[in-house]
C-alpha cells in the first residue's frame, strides 16, 4: 500500500505559547511494499510524522492517502495500521498469546481462525515456543517481536515502527534489525520506521527519508543519499565518523583551504564549505600534494587506521579550530608526529555554500 502525504503540517503550541511546526508542509510518497527509514535528530518531526500516519495525532493542514483511500480524518483503528511503540506497550498482564490475540478478539474474528493466525504470527517472529509467557519473562528483543506480531496479526495495510531498536543492547540490535528486515520481506508489507540512528536506517531501509526541523531534507536509497547529499546537514548526519568540514575558498577554479590547494573545480570564485568523507583521503607517498598536516593521533582498529589531525584556528584560512579524521590503510604505518600529504578523492568531496546548500 502506497502512502502519500500532501502538504502535511502539524503545529504544536509550546509552553511559552509559541507555535512549533513539528511537521512543516511535508510532501512525501512512500512506495508500496518497501521498508522506509524516517531519519533525523531528536525533535526533527519524524515521530510526529509517524503518529500522523497512524492517526494518533491529527494534522493541522494536509492530507494522507493510503493508496487511493484518503485517511486524513480517520481514527487510528479505521486506518488499518499496525503500530509498534518505542517501549512496545505490550499489555503486561497478558501472555504473549493473549497479547497477539487481543486485536483479533476485538475484531470478532472467528475463534478457531484467530487461534491459527496467532500461532502462525508467533512462528513468523520466531516465538512459537513462548506463547504462554508474560512479557516481563521475555528479553527486550523478544518483546519487540511480540509487538510486531501483535501489529501484524490483524493484517494491516501499513506497519509503523517507532524507534524499534532504541531499547535494545548493541548485540540484540544487530540481530533484531535483520529480523525486522526478514519479516518485512516475508510479508511484503509497506513499513515505515523511525530512528535517530543513521547506521540503523542505512543498514536495513530500502529508502531513507532524512528530516530536520519538520522539513524533509532528502529521500532516496541509503547509499545514494550518502554519496550525494543535497546539503551539509544530510552530509553531516550520515556516516560515522562524521564527514570532515573545512572552510575554504574557490579562487580561479582552484579550491583552497588555509592557502593549501586541495582540488580543482568549475565553480565561480566564492567562499565554500568543503565536506570530505574520512575515507576520501589518499596518502600521497610522493609528497607532492599541497594539502599536508602533522598527525596528532593514530588509532588502528583492525584493517583501518584513523588519523586524527587537529588544525589550530587562524585568521584568513581555516577560521575555526577543527579536528578531522582520515581513514587510511593500516599498512602505511603512519605514526603520530609524521607530516602526511593528502590527495582527496573527488567523489568523496562535496562543496556547499555558506548556508549549507550543495554547489553544483
Amino acid at each position: 500500500m502506497e502512502i502519500k502525504m500532501l502538504d502535511l503540517t502539524k503545529i504544536f503550541i509550546s509552553k511559552d505559547k509559541r507555535e512549533v511546526h513539528a511537521v512543516d508542509h511535508v510532501d512525501l510518497t512512500i512506495p508500496s511494499g518497501k521498508l522506509i527509514g524516517l531519519l533525523g535528530p531528536s525533535g526533527c518531526g519524524k515521530s510526529t510524522t509517524l503518529y500522523l500516519i497512524a492517526g494518533l495525532l491529527r494534522q493541522n493542514v494536509g492530507q494522507i492517502y493510503f493508496g487511493e483511500d484518503e485517511v486524513s480524518d480517520m481514527p487510528p483503528e479505521k486506518r488499518g495500521i499496525g503500530l509498534v511503540f518505542q517501549n512496545y506497550a505490550l499489555y503486561p498482564h497478558m501472555t504473549v498469546r493473549e497479547n497477539i490475540l487481543f486485536p483479533l478478539e476485538n475484531l470478532k474474528v472467528d475463534k478457531v481462525e484467530a487461534k491459527e493466525r496467532t500461532i502462525e504470527m508467533a512462528n513468523l517472529v520466531g516465538l512459537g515456543e513462548m506463547l504462554d509467557r508474560k512479557p516481563k519473562e521475555l528479553s527486550g528483543g523478544q518483546q519487540q517481536r511480540v509487538a510486531i506480531a501483535r501489529a501484524l496479526v490483524k493484517k494491516p495495510r501499513v506497519l509503523l515502527l517507532d524507534e524499534p531498536l532504541s531499547n535494545l543492547d548493541a548485540r540484540l540490535r544487530l540481530q533484531t534489525r535483520e529480523e525486522i528486515k526478514r519479516i518485512q520481506r516475508e510479508t511484503g508489507i509497506t513499513t515505515v520506521f523511525v530512528t535517530h540512528d543513521q547506521e540503523e536506517a542505512m543498514s536495513i531501509s530500502d529508502e531513507i527519508v532524512v528530516m530536520k526541523d519538520g522539513v524533509i531534507q532528502q529521500m532516496g536509497e541509503p547509499q545514494h543519499v550518502y554519496d550525494h547529499p543535497q546539503n551539509l546537514f544530510v552530509a553531516q548526519f550520515l556516516g560515522t565518523p562524521q564527514i570532515n568540514v573545512f572552510n575554504g575558498v574557490i579562487k580561479n577554479k582552484k579550491i583552497f583551504v588555509n592557502d593549501m590547494l586541495i582540488s580543482k573545480t568549475d565553480l565561480p570564485d566564492q567562499p565554500v564549505k568543503i565536506g570530505v568523507r574520512p575515507e576520501g583521503f589518499i596518502v600521497d607517498l610522493e609528497k607532492k600534494s599541497d594539502f599536508k598536516f602533522e598527525i596528532d593521533l593514530v588509532e588502528t582498529i583492525g584493517r583501518d587506521t584513523t588519523l586524527i589531525i587537529e588544525v589550530p584556528g587562524n585568521e584568513g584560512g581555516l577560521l575555526d579550530k577543527i579536528t578531522f579524521k582520515a581513514i587510511v590503510d593500516a599498512s602505511l604505518k603512519i605514526k603520530a608526529g609524521d607530516w602526511v600529504h593528502f590527495n582527496v578523492k573527488p567523489e568523496k568531496m562535496h562543496l556547499f555554500d555558506l548556508e549549507g546548500k550543495l554547489l553544483k
Binding site: P75, P76, E77, G82, N87, A89, Y91, H93, N106
Partner: protein, 288 residues
C-alpha cells in the same frame, strides 16, 4: 515509633483479648485496680446467645458486602470518567474529595435531613416519579429502608478516598497502552475491562481490603444517621462496633466490659478472615 505502637496498639489488643476471658470483671473496683473472680469462656457464649449481637453481625455483613464492591465500582467509573475531562478534572476532584475532609457525623446529620419522611430530598425526588414517600429512618421504617439509607450514605461517604486513589493510579498507567488498545480496535468497555482494571488491580485489592476493614468497623455512619438509638427502632441498625460500645458503657451488670471485649475480639477475627480471603482469592487476578 515502636514504643508508641506497643503502648497504643499492641498492649490494648492483647489486653482486650485477656479481658474477654475475665469472669465478673469490675474495672472500677479496688480503687481502679479492678476485680475478677477467675477466667472463663462464658463471655463468648453469652454474647453468641445474644439476639442483639446477631442483629449487629447481620447489619454489619450486609453493609460491608454490598457497600464495598458497589462503591469500588462507582468510584472506578467516576475516576475513568474524570480522566476523559481533563479541564474540569481538578474541580470535580475537589468536589468528590470534600466528603473525606468533612466530619462523618455532621454529614450523617445532613443525610438524616435528606432522608426525612416529610421534608427530605430523597422523597421529594421520588415524588416526581409518583412514588409515595418512604419512611427511611423514622420509627416506622422497615429494616430494608433503613439499610438502604445507611447503604446510600456509606457508599457516598466512602467514594472520596477511592476516587483519589484510583485517579492517581490511572495517571500512572502509561498512555501508550491506551493508544495500543485503540489501534487494536478495542472498544471503551473492552479497554476498561481488559486494560484499566487489570492494570489497577493491585490498587483495587488494596482499596477493597482497607474499605472492607472500614466497613466492618462501621459506627460513625449509624450514629450520624440514626442518632444514639442506633436505628428507627432502637438498635435495629446496630453494628458490631456499636454493640461493643453499648456493652462497654453499660454499667448495669457485672462483666459488661468482658462482653464488649469478646465482641471486639470476634470482630478482629472476622476482619482477619475477610482480609485473608480477599488476598487469597485475588492472588490469581492481581497483576503487579
Amino acid at each position: 515509633m515502636l514504643i508508641l505502637m506497643i503502648v497504643f496498639t499492641f498492649y490494648p489488643l492483647i489486653n482486650a483479648f485477656v479481658i474477654s476471658f475475665y469472669k465478673d470483671y469490675l474495672p472500677l473496683a479496688n480503687d481502679g485496680a479492678g476485680s475478677i473472680t477467675g477466667y472463663t469462656f462464658a463471655n463468648y457464649s453469652v454474647i453468641l446467645k445474644n439476639q442483639l449481637f446477631w442483629q449487629s453481625l447481620k447489619n454489619t455483613f450486609v453493609l460491608a458486602l454490598v457497600s464495598v464492591p458497589v462503591s469500588i465500582l462507582i468510584s472506578l467509573f467516576i475516576s475513568v470518567a474524570l480522566k476523559s475531562i481533563p479541564k474540569l478534572k481538578g474541580f470535580f476532584q475537589t468536589v468528590f474529595f470534600l466528603p473525606y475532609v468533612t466530619n462523618g457525623i455532621a454529614v450523617g446529620m445532613a443525610f438524616a435531613v435528606m432522608f426525612h419522611r416529610d421534608y427530605g430530598l430523597f422523597n421529594l425526588i421520588l415524588g416526581w416519579f409518583n412514588i409515595s414517600p418512604i419512611d427511611w429512618i423514622g420509627g416506622t421504617a422497615s429494616w430494608w429502608a433503613q439499610m438502604g439509607a445507611l447503604m446510600i450514605f456509606t457508599i457516598w461517604e466512602s467514594l472520596a478516598f477511592k476516587i483519589l486513589v484510583f485517579t492517581s493510579g490511572l495517571q500512572n498507567i502509561d498512555k501508550q497502552y491506551y493508544d495500543a488498545a485503540k489501534i487494536d480496535h478495542a472498544t471503551k468497555w473492552t479497554i476498561f475491562k481488559r486494560i484499566t482494571v487489570p492494570l489497577l488491580s493491585p490498587l483495587i485489592l488494596y482499596i477493597s481490603i482497607t474499605s472492607m476493614i472500614g466497613a466492618l468497623k462501621a459506627y460513625n455512619s449509624v450514629i450520624g444517621l440514626f442518632g444514639e438509638k442506633l436505628g428507627g427502632q432502637p438498635y435495629s441498625m446496630i453494628t458490631i462496633v456499636a454493640f461493643v460500645y453499648k456493652y462497654r458503657s453499660d454499667f448495669s451488670f457485672q462483666g459488661f466490659y468482658s462482653y464488649a471485649a469478646s465482641a471486639a475480639i470476634i470482630l478482629f477475627f472476622i476482619t482477619l478472615i475477610f482480609s485473608l480471603i480477599q488476598t487469597t482469592v485475588s492472588k490469581k487476578r492481581i497483576h503487579y
